[in-house]
Amino acid sequence: MSSRILTDGNGAASLGLKLARIRVVSAYPITPQSPISEKLADYVVDGTLDAKYIRVESEHSAMSCAIGAQLTGVRAGTATSSVGLALMHEVLGVAAGCRIPIVMPVVNRSLVSPWSLWCDHQDSMAERDGGWMQLYAESAQEVLDLILIAYRTSEDARIQLPTMVCLDGFFLSHMSDAIFLPDQDTVDSFLPPYVSHNFHLDPDDPMFINDLTPTSEFTEMRYQQAVAFDKAPEVLAEVMADFQKTFGREYSLTEAYRCDDAEAVIVTLGSMSGTGKYTVDLLREQGKRVGILKITSFRPFPAEQIKSALANVGTVGVIDRSAGFGAQVGPVATEVRATLRGKPVQGFIAGLAGRDISPAVFKKAFTRLLDNETTEHVEWLDLKEDALTLREVRS
């Protein structure tokens, strides 16, 4: 039976890893993820988590330890944020290429420079082509639930891909919320003990993992990863259906909120989705036909779901919470635009480094769409006028 508890996104992430019965922890602290590294330490010391806590000296080592441990046949847990994820980058590729189904909470925070402690999606967007699945949570409940869903999907023999479960820094990680905490027995029935379907480290069954690969085989190994990504939407849907049966909560690769008869829809990722839905309700009361399409699974990219949800929608906007330099529009907008060939898709940028994406920001965006004022170019929704004159040089 579930219990109802008050916790925040970090608490939910820690509980998710604990319920998944990770046996090795290798987390390095970084704002705003640090409470996860602390909570897991508490669980190990108080005995509620039977795991070895490796007090790693960097995120690069955190992911390395997790990979090493998981290759021996146990679930290994780590979590990070921002520049910590960036520091892990090289090793993320090892987990992806060696098909190691690690599930890692990523507390979204901007990369540097400029230095910031606060929420945006630049960190996970920078990893979008690396071979990790990416799920984005709207609430603390989703953080916990998506972690369990991620384990089942990642570890499926048809998939064998690692997953990042992304939660917005501070907006989710530090925001208290009431969630349903499933009991361990029910989680165990949903998520059986870890079994590796692939190569492993065992003196009784020796093999040499991750040796140099010739050009004559590399393409095919990358293709193997692509085949898994291709199967991922189907497997995710299966797992989500089973999740609903077991725990009663419904998930899908995208969530369409009041899109059926909408003239304008904004595509969102993460906690901004909640504000988006709230604003939709306000605007609907004023007679405006608007909706929100929340992307839960960004990798694999839910092209079919996006196409079908927005089939009858006239104008689409995408709020990117990262800048996507050098491209016409931000990363999510780029991919949505490509999927919806021909339909006007306005790229927006907002909410960088913890700037709140408020109902006013959503209203501004919806107004743009409803007035058909869409362009090829990205619009920075919450930009201040004095953008170029922030720092006067005084002699």
């Binding site: 795991a51 960097s58 390395s64 090493g68 290759l71 003196p203 991750n210 140099l212 690969t213």
Partner: protein, 292 residues
């Protein structure tokens, strides 16, 4: 299971594409002979990666993993933890990394593993440069040695890696050389035993004919001269505090005799030789002060 398409006496195939006369090849065979099959090996890119294999083929019979250049110790720590949590803590986890991968880029992850007391065996094979990528200088390259990135001779003495390791106060650390194979063998055995209580570290001198400019046939002779000139003292450190010389050298040969056989020191003039001899004497004297 490995498909055995070749036979070999030991845990490494007799045909490995390491250079003729490679000091590492000899060291690795001795190390694995001592450790045995209940071992998992972690190898970073570098000369030792020749043991990992290419494509579907490998030349080692052990369970193994090729990591990145700087995180051998971190992978080893994670692997050890995973086995410990499954009641298989008896499995020896060995990291076999070169000087570049240890003394330079790998220093952080090694230090972390040593500080935590993770029960891994870390062996640094030191051929004194990034040899596999074509003889670039590392923090272990000797003073005045030619490398492709120190074509005028390295201007500074090598890092005292064993001193750094000793500062972590691990159960067992030692220097070794393929010039003294019995001493090496004994030390691998002691290191293996020590990993029951914490990390153990060996720093093994392995001459590289290709990079040092010596005849392959002279690899062992040169290794011996390194020890006999006191350039490469053979000692062990227990718990970071008890120092013991395992091969005393009472009548040291001049460093010049050691350098003479190596083309990488061909450009060393008389003054540089003096500086190098003084540095060797000084380092040795400092070391002797720590001895029991």
């Amino acid at each position: 299971m490995l498909t055995m398409k070749s036979e070999s006496k030991g845990l490494i195939a007799n045909g490995v594409s390491l250079c003729s006369g490679c000091g590492l090849e000899l060291a690795a065979r001795i190390i694995l002979d001592v450790l045995g099959t209940n071992t998992v090996i972690v190898i970073p890119p570098g000369c030792a990666a020749l043991f990992s294999g290419y494509g579907s083929e490998t030349v080692t019979k052990l369970a193994g993993f090729q990591g990145n250049l700087e995180n051998t110790a971190a992978y080893a720590s994670g692997i050890k933890a995973g086995f410990e949590m499954q009641g298989r803590g008896d499995i020896q986890v060995l990291g076999l990394a070169g000087d570049g991968a240890t003394v330079d880029i790998g220093l952080q992850s090694l230090s972390g593993a040593l500080e935590r007391g993770d029960k891994i065996l870390y062996i640094c094979y030191d051929n004194e440069a990034y040899m596999n990528t074509g003889i670039q200088s590392s923090g272990s390259t000797p003073l005045s040695a030619w490398t492709t990135t120190t074509p005028g001779g390295k201007p500074v003495y090598r890092k005292d890696m064993l001193g750094i390791v000793a500062a972590h106060k691990i159960p067992y650390a030692a220097s070794a050389s393929v010039g003294y194979v019995d001493d090496l063998r004994r030390k691998v055995e002691k290191a293996r035993t020590a990993t029951a209580t914490g990390p153990a570290y060996l720093h093994v001198h392995v001459p590289c004919p290709t990079g040092w400019g010596i005849k392959p046939a002279q690899a062992i002779e040169v290794a011996k001269l390194a020890v006999q000139s006191r350039y490469w003292p053979l000692y062990e450190v227990v718990d970071g505090e008890e120092y013991k010389l395992t091969v005393p050298v009472s009548k040291p040969k001049p460093v010049a005799e050691y350098l003479r056989l190596q083309k990488r020191f061909a450009g060393v003039n008389a003054q540089q030789l003096d500086v190098l001899q003084s540095a060797v004497d000084h380092e040795y004297a400092s070391l002797m002060k720590k001895m029991l």
